[in-house]
Amino acid sequence: MPTNETLAAYSNYLIYGAMAAFTIAMIAFAASLASMRGRDLVPAGVPEAEAASGGVAVATRTALAVGGPDDGALPPGRRSGNIGMSVTWLGTVLLGAGVLLRGLSVQRPPWGNMYEFAVTTAFAVALAFVALSLKRDLRWLGLFVVLPVLLTLGLAVTVLYTDAAQLVPALKSYWLVIHVTAAIICGGAFCIGAAVTLLFLVADSGERRALVGKRYRLDALARRLPEAARLDAMAYRIHAFMFPLWTFAVVAGAIWAENAWGRYWGWDPKETWAFITWVVYAAYLHARATAGWKGRKASVVALVAFGCFLFNFFGVNILITGLHSYAGV
């Protein structure tokens, strides 16, 4: 099957277009956060007197600029937040089209090398974000999702770029397609999970210090985020939803390996890091049920797990050679 160079070129243009859109979205989200009215950081359940000593009336607590009730006039930060959301939609559509054309240009799923994997994962992150935003207001999260998407795309088009081409025989397997699809979806969701977890740590630090009347370096950000408890629950839900899929991705990879090399598990560096990532995410889920680990410590474990996931993609492919080395990087 020959490679269709024209389609591949269009795919590249679309991806550049998506990057431009995400850049605009990033600026809009940042402006939205900056101009937003913050909330009081003293959490619910604290006696009013105590909360009042925090300086803001209790009634304003729920009137979050984001997620608050719509009362006609747009509160500060709302308009730029809306622009950010719309442009993120646009960027996601452009990126999706870019991924599609790349796939059509080589007549196969477009995740056969690091460049394609990175671009598709960026698309998965963006798609997961806009899909989640259909059900709830996520404008506060926009900046922290668009930023890693842009970074990934930037890295993809500069360092990882590989011409559209056919696959080496070892990568031609439908189990590979299943395995990589699952891994990409997990990658996208884990990225959002890590962003929410980080924001939880910020909001939680802000709330804890506010309780004892102290200020926190990132107070300005903490005030503009939903309550820490909500962020924690959201992060957990994302991880809990994705962990079975990640387990499936690892198992599908093992089935592919069995089909290609005659063993389903050989502690190849890629397999080893998939295992490490899996164990650390399992540790995170455990930590949430273990006294003394709930909350902040467990969140750090989730971030470490995401670090392992990233290392498996960048570190292992670039630093360590194994059977899994992709064609082109």
Binding site: S173, T290, G328
Partner: protein, 552 residues
């Protein structure tokens, strides 16, 4: 409210009602060893080992212990690179080797971690399984004394008979597939207790138990299975016996007579490569066409073995894992008699299949040895000398140097067929040959003819009898996980008391783990079904998602 139970008992039942998992209570691990000698210490050690905190620590250790396995070459998967490492840096290499860094996943310290983890797992999960089995057969727990303290709580007055309220609550709950226990209205009060989502705990236990089974199946495969590799040239045959393999790695319990008696001939190996572009020379297709005989005397079948598409025969699988070139060489002695005529496997050295190999001709006096490299697309590079610029055989050539003397075959020591010991030989010269070229060896030592080449393919033959069980346990583990993480276990209680004449005071309360959406919707639906309509909710905070945290 009039509760017949004593305060202590009700405290206990309150804890009971709020516990939605058989997870061990964390206080266990905090218990100090009691001063009752060896038994006390043993009990303490067992409790510590099977506590959640220890499991967590062991999980971390397992992750950390795996890291060196990815940083250093491993004997199991890459013995040649381990040898290279030891040769390049013997001091550090020796120390690392002593520490097991080249055999991480079969080292004793790695085994210690996972054995402890799995003992902990069994010690934790088996009692939980028994407990859960009991819970599955018992009734939903009675309501905690203070329903108003639960995360979801509604109070409503209903103009109807208390017993009717109890009955319709129970009916509604049963209709929505809750497990329900209920009391009669005794004149002062009555209650309904209901629970749903037992599959969460079942799934959690299933997941952990499947991990145990997975470990067993990995062990079974390693013990009873085998893995072997063989190189077959085009036109040659291979019979599935231990002696014919180039390498053979059986498990300790492997029975060699269980090798299925098949044989095959490699008729043709085909490879395609990308031509031009950034990935010039990258492989695109590999296929080995073979003629298979399943057992001696059976009919011949043709089959194709491809990467990702192994041949399955007699319970083992044959995988295509590598390929290369085998130049065909004819050697004649000074009298012109043929003393060697065969294809010889050359091993690829780079991506463009510059390959090296050796021809040994023991039947001449003195003996003759040829060392050379084969270039599928030969180019003489001004810097690198003769190299290959493409993996396909577009312009094949061999460069061969000839040696005479003693091949050293008589010493009885096994020799590699890929290397020539030239210490007792002298060199005759070197020559470049294209297919068909004849080289007259200097000194009247005969001639060497490069007739052409065939290709070879290498195959892995493997059998893992634990594989099926491993897949089954993996599927069960994923199923268990999905149940465990996606299903909410939740409880609902209804308590009625008679209020003003003709009015029943109804309390509806619900409890779930904080992580998922609360049980609020279901409480709301029950209230609506009782005719309460959207109710005032004293414990619900205005921000969504806030009210779902149980007060622990």
């Amino acid at each position: 409210m009039n509760d017949p139970m004593s305060a202590a008992a009700s405290r206990e039942s309150q804890d009971d009602a709020q516990r939605l998992s058989t997870a061990p209570l964390d206080v266990d691990s905090a218990v100090e060893p009691m001063g009752i000698g060896v038994l006390g210490w043993l009990r303490w050690a067992w409790r510590t080992l099977t506590s959640m905190r220890t499991a967590l620590v062991l999980l971390f250790l397992l992750a950390v212990a795996s890291v060196p396995g990815s940083l250093f070459p491993q004997r199991g998967s890459n013995p040649l690179r381990v040898n290279d490492y030891l040769a390049n840096d013997p001091v550090k290499g020796r120390i690392l080797d002593r520490l097991g860094m080249f055999d991480v996943f079969s080292s004793s310290w790695f085994a210690a971690i996972y054995v402890l983890l799995f003992i902990s797992l069994a010690g934790c999960v088996l009692p939980r399984t028994l407990l859960h089995a009991k819970i599955l057969r018992s009734r939903p727990p009675v309501a905690p004394r203070h329903l108003a303290r639960l995360p979801e709580h509604r109070m409503l007055d209903i103009a109807s008979d208390p017993q009717v309220v109890l009955d319709s609550s129970a009916a509604w709950l049963r209709g929505h597939r809750w497990r329900v226990d209920t009391s009669e209205f005794d004149g002062r009060g009555g209650w309904v207790a209901a629970e749903k989502g037992y599959a969460r705990e079942t799934g959690n236990l299933l997941f952990h138990l499947s991990l145990l089974v997975l470990l067993v199946s990995v062990g079974v495969g390693a013990f009873n299975g085998f893995k072997a590799t063989v190189i077959v040239r085009e036109g040659s045959s291979f019979a599935d016996t231990q002696a014919q393999f180039d390498s053979f790695a059986p498990g300790r319990g492997f029975d060699p007579t269980s090798l299925p008696p098949f044989s095959f001939t490699l008729n043709k190996f085909s490879a395609d490569y990308q031509r031009g572009g950034q990935q010039n020379g990258a492989a695109r297709t590999f296929a080995a066409d073979v003629t298979l005989v399943r057992e001696p005397g059976a009919a011949k079948e043709s089959a194709r073995i491809e990467v990702n598409d192994p041949l399955v025969v007699g319970g083992v699988k044959v995988f295509l894992v590598g390929h290369g070139y085998a130049p065909m060489v004819t050697v004649r002695n000074a009298k012109g008699d043929i003393v060697f005529h065969d294809s010889v496997v050359f091993l690829p050295q780079d991506g463009n299949f510059k390959s090296t190999g050796v021809v040994k001709v023991p039947d001449t006096v003195p003996q003759l040895g040829l060392v050379g490299f084969f270039l599928p697309t030969a180019v003489v590079d001004p810097v690198l000398g003769p190299t290959s610029t493409f993996p396909a055989a577009d312009r094949p050539a061999i460069y061969i140097s000839a040696w005479t003397g003693d091949l050293g075959l008589g010493t009885g020591r096994p020799q590699s067929v890929y290397s020539l010991n030239t210490s007792t030989m002298s060199r005759l010269g070197i020559e470049e040959l294209a297919p068909g070229d004849v080289w007259a060896l200097p000194g009247g030592n005969g001639t060497v003819t490069f007739d052409g080449y065939v290709q070879w393919a290498s195959f892995t033959v493997a059998h893992d009898p634990g594989k099926e069980l491993a897949v089954v346990s993996a599927v069960l583990a994923i199923t268990g996980l999905a149940l465990s993480l996606l299903i909410r276990r939740r409880r609902v209680w209804v308590r009625v008391a008679s209020g003003e004449p003709g009015v029943t005071v109804v309390e509806v309360a619900g409890l779930t783990r904080s992580e998922h959406a609360s049980v609020g919707d279901e409480v709301e639906a029950l209230v609506a079904a009782l005719g309460g309509g959207p109710s005032e909710n004293p414990s619900r905070t205005p921000a969504p998602g806030q009210g779902s945290k149980p007060q622990t």
